[in-house]
């Protein structure tokens, strides 16, 4: 059977999601898939568009990769605009030619509505929709002072945030009497306005713009119908969206009166071979301007094309929870109480800046809708009541009252029915979660990987953790945090025990707080804790037997039992003289030599007894140990920065050297990598590191908890435009908090994902000092920095410690007979198993 051709027009979030869903079904094999995108960029996350001004790039925001499309045999044609559809011939036309289809999917999205105001064609009148739009806004904002957003809805406030992050004095002009008129009521809108104005964004409600003319003090002047005016250098229109339906209109598909391509429950248009999903589609007279309903349509259509006759789109929940300019806003269901007989309960604390409103059914039993401003902590519980029709408690007001006034704690996971939707981005129900747990998942990370829950907007993270913990508990899976059979404590518990009781040896710790003699799990973990707390030499008599072989011999054991040596080369900067010494030493000991990914040099094949001799020579030439063997800071990679590079805006090498010298030797739960890039081109790949620093015109942006390796993860933007001192103070705190609270062998990425409250919580602890431990963390780090010693220097100078490096203690000149060597590409390497000598 020859394959059918499926053409998708549009490569936005919904179009991409549709393809992800489709390739996961058997139907994918029946189709040759072609995708046409008008933008030149691969589908990206428009929900987090304003991150683009916070340092995120298209790659950060991208939904997929070109490789993904290639692997799935999808022919992706970006920047090739479709100009027509011939429904009779079943072809589409682009500037490049005609293409036939069997099935056609329109995922063309929407475009920003620009109100018909005289003067709106001025070059500094812009819109906020694509990355190209953002580039235009950035260009227009260069060197000027003021920016206005027309439209006080969700997107308008996002746009205002973007203007603010560009350093502009931002204004919002809204026609309606309040902000976010769709989601909020007048009290909620008023509170939001107050909070946003406190953040320095000026809000003008009930303003109708009559014309835009040349300004006197700024580029433009907006004249309003009440005879007032406002001067500004640029205007961003964000007054709603309109479905991008021109193609459908010109091919005579059924359209809505006010636009939108009419679809049925199967997401099919009036032509049975043409389908539409996302913001271009009109279902039951409604356009859905949020991403979650678009995703639901995408899933429905993928099922339909896979032959599922039951699949149907039946509307979508338009509840939203967001942080706008740092202010929590939530809106659930029938927020405006339009249901006949609906009643309201309101809680309004103007002092604290919290507003909560519940809309309940006439009989008082069901929650129909809700509005939250200032604090979203009640959102998850309220949403579950509304979505699942859970019967309200006798005194429903307790759901929104503060606990001090008799408020109820949030809804426990047991109260949720199996059908309760936990993650709306990926449509994961409580039943789905129970399913994967029954199938063998025993932790949160596993559930996330299996179901994708909480990997979209992440809003459900706390709820998901509660459900998973509770379900595991119910199944008798003990979520054991015990380090091993010798210690009934987690690493974090042990850290506190050591710190509080001033315990300095493993022996004391296991005698007083554990049992038995220890093992290869707890010994290195405790050694690391002791090192962090007291910073004694790792080869001090009490600590020697605790270390993994790499730490014991301060080198990395390789597969043939020999070791590799990595001297520290801070920031990757090295003098020719030192480079020559490395070459000479390598040559003398016949060491295989390779440049590492962390911008240093690795010397392989040294025997135990050669290690101190080699280090004597390296230390004499000014080298220090590189801690490549330790669970500690490895390198701080850098690009060449503003000293040489035409694009660099800060001295990235200098900062990398400062950071590397500051944190070298610090023992941590796992290895820690850092990098510093001198501009946003990010040549040092800082976002793949535990700590990534990227230079800006005004200082440094800090990314945290990135990871390369088996499970790559981009770092999260943590703080922006930091001075040198602020940067170091912030890293001090995060590093120390990680060292104190992470599990054994837990990289920063997993640590953060498992922190309850995630990135926001970490920001509160570090940036807002919510636990009041900021200074203590800094002081602890300062103590460690002060007591740093080069472990190798101490070791080679101490005859007792050098004794450890005898290969055979009774035969100093005996060479290990099992090491066999060969030569490849001019260097010595171990003979592989079964390889002839």
């Amino acid at each position: 059977m020859s394959k059918k051709t499926l053409i998708v027009i549009g490569n936005g979030m919904v179009g991409h999601h549709f393809l992800e869903q489709l390739v996961a079904t058997p139907a994918a094999a029946d189709f040759d898939i072609k995708v046409f995108g008008e933008e030149k960029l691969l589908a990206y996350d428009r929900v987090h568009l304003s991150d683009y001004f916070g340092g995120s790039t298209h790659a950060d925001l991208a939904m997929g990769t070109a490789d993904w499309y290639a692997e799935n045999h999808i022919d992706l044609r970006l920047g090739e605009q479709v100009t027509g559809i011939d429904r009779d011939k079943r072809t589409i036309t682009t500037l490049m030619g005609d293409y036939s289809y069997d099935e056609l999917v329109l995922a063309t999205g929407s475009y920003p509505f620009v109100p018909p105001i005289k003067g709106n064609e001025h070059p500094h009148c812009l819109v906020y929709r694509t990355l190209e739009d953002l580039d235009s806004i950035r260009a227009s904002a260069d060197g000027v002072k003021t920016g206005v957003v027309v439209g006080g809805g969700l997107l308008g406030l996002e746009a205002a945030n973007a203007l603010k992050s560009l350093g502009l004095e931002a204004h919002v002009v809204e026609f309606a009497p309040r902000l976010m008129p769709v989601q909020l009521d007048s009290d909620g809108g008023a509170l939001l306005k107050r909070k946003i104005e406190e953040l320095g964004v000026q809000v003008h409600t009930e303003k109708a713009t009559t014309e835009i003319v040349e300004g006197e003090d700024a580029r433009l002047r907006m004249n309003f119908s009440d005879d007032t005016h406002l001067e500004t250098d640029l205007i961003v229109f964000s007054a709603g969206i309109r479905p991008q339906d021109a193609l459908a209109r010109s091919s005579d598909l059924a359209m809505g009166e006010r636009g939108g391509i009419v679809i049925n429950d199967q997401c099919t248009t009036s032509d049975p071979h043409i389908h539409a999903i996302g913001e271009c589609a009109l279902w039951s007279e409604k356009i859905f301007g949020l991403v979650a309903p678009g995703y639901t349509m995408a899933r429905t259509l993928a099922s339909v094309l896979n032959g599922d006759t039951e699949a149907a789109f039946t509307g979508a929940d338009m509840s939203t929870k967001l942080k706008l300019l740092g202010v929590d806003v939530g809106s659930i269901g029938d927020a405006h109480a339009t249901t006949p007989g609906a009643r309201n309960i309101r809680f309004n604390d103007e002092q604290a800046g919290h507003y909560r409103r519940m809309v309940i059914s006439e009989d008082g039993k069901k929650l129909l809708g809700a509005i939250l401003v200032g604090d979203n902590s009640h959102y998850d519980t309220l949403l579950q009541y509304a979505l699942n029709g859970i019967e309200l408690p006798e005194n429903p007001e307790t759901l929104i009252l503060p606990e001090s006034q008799g408020g109820a704690p949030t809804l426990g996971p047991d109260a949720l029915p199996e059908t309760a939707s936990i993650c709306s981005c990926h449509n994961v129900s409580k039943g789905d979660i129970c399913g994967v747990i029954d199938a063998g998942c025993t932790d949160l990370a596993g559930v996330k990987a299996e179901t994708k829950a909480s990997t979209g907007c992440g809003g459900c993270a706390a709820l998901l953790k509660n459900v998973v913990d509770r379900e595991l508990e119910k199944r008798g899976v003990e979520v054991s945090k015990d380090l091993c059979e010798h210690f009934p404590y987690s690493r974090q518990d042990l850290f506190n025990i050591v710190k509080v009781n001033g315990i300095r040896t493993f022996r004391t710790l296991i005698r007083e707080h554990g049992k038995g003699h220890g093992c290869d799990i707890c010994k290195p973990a405790v050694a690391s804790i002791l090192a962090t707390c007291w910073n004694e030499h790792i080869l001090a008599t009490d600590h020697v037997p605790l270390q993994d072989t790499n730490d014991t011999f301060m080198a990395n054991m390789q597969k043939n039992g020999t070791y590799s040596i990595v001297p520290r080369i801070p920031g990757g900067e090295i003098t020719p003289d030192k480079l020559i010494v490395l070459g000479e030493v390598a040559k003398e000991y016949n060491l295989y030599t390779k440049i590492t990914g962390g911008q240093r040099v690795d010397l392989f094949g040294a025997t135990l007894s050669e290690l101190p001799e080699i280090w004597e020579k390296l230390i004499a030439a000014g080298f220090e140990t590189g801690h490549a063997y330790g669970k500690s800071l490895r390198t701080v990679k850098s690009c060449v920065g503003s000293t040489w590079c035409r694009y660099g805006v800060q001295d990235s090498v200098g900062m990398a050297i400062t950071l590397e010298n500051r944190y070298k030797g610090l023992r941590a739960p796992h290895k820690v990598k850092m990098a510093v890039s001198g501009c946003t081109r990010e040549c040092a790949e800082a976002q793949s590191k535990d700590f990534g620093v990227i230079a800006t015109e005004n200082g440094w942006n800090l990314y945290v908890c990135g990871n390369g390796g088996m499970r790559p993860r981009h770092g999260d933007l943590f703080a922006t435009d930091l001075s040198d001192e602020e940067l170091i103070r912030t890293i001090d705190r995060v590093v120390m908090f990680y060292v104190r609270t992470a599990d054994r062998l837990q990289r920063t990425s997993v640590w953060m994902e498992n922190l309850e409250g995630g990135l926001d919580y970490l920001k509160q602890v570090v940036l807002e000092d919510s636990l009041g431990i900021g200074e203590e963390l800094e002081q602890h780090m300062a103590d460690l920095v002060d007591t740093y010693q080069c472990e190798w220097k101490t070791a080679v100078e101490d005859p007792e410690k050098r004794k450890r490096f005898r290969e055979f203690v009774n035969a100093p000149s005996k060479k290990d007979p099992v090491q066999e060597w060969t030569t490849e590409r001019y260097q010595r390497r171990p003979l592989l198993e079964g390889e002839p000598a």
Partner: protein
């Protein structure tokens, strides 16, 4: 009849590292001697050769106990070996050679089987 053996002096007490191992060269090849001062007996000797890789590294492993058995973990791929019996805890078909070991004044002696001594000498 009991096979002839010899008690070879392999090192002194000063060479030992508490809670850890050292490697010695014997007539029977490389042997790892462990000193666990908080156990009785406190001395253990097993082959220094990791049976999974054939490399001489076991003396450099971390010692301890699992379910009451004294153990060392191979530093290469972390399998555990019972220091008394040589039994690998992860694979019941794998054992490492063990040697009787004792303290003679200041000297550590390991008992080396005579057969091997002869073949080594041959």
């Amino acid at each position: 009849m009991r096979a002839r053996t010899s008690w070879e002096v392999v090192c002194t007490v000063e060479d030992l590292v508490p809670e850890s191992g050292v490697a010695v060269w014997t007539e029977d090849g490389p042997v790892a001697v462990f000193y666990l001062p908080h156990r009785l007996p406190a001395l253990f000797a097993i082959s220094h050769t990791d049976p999974f890789t054939g490399k001489n590294v076991l003396a450099r492993g971390i010692t301890g106990d699992l379910k009451g058995q004294p153990i060392v973990a191979s530093p290469l791929y972390k399998q555990h070996f019972n220091l008394q019996t040589g039994q690998c805890l992860e694979d019941e078909e794998v054992t490492v050679k063990t040697y009787p070991v004792l303290l003679d004044g200041n000297n550590v002696r390991v008992e080396i089987p005579a057969v091997n001594k002869e073949s080594a000498a041959a």
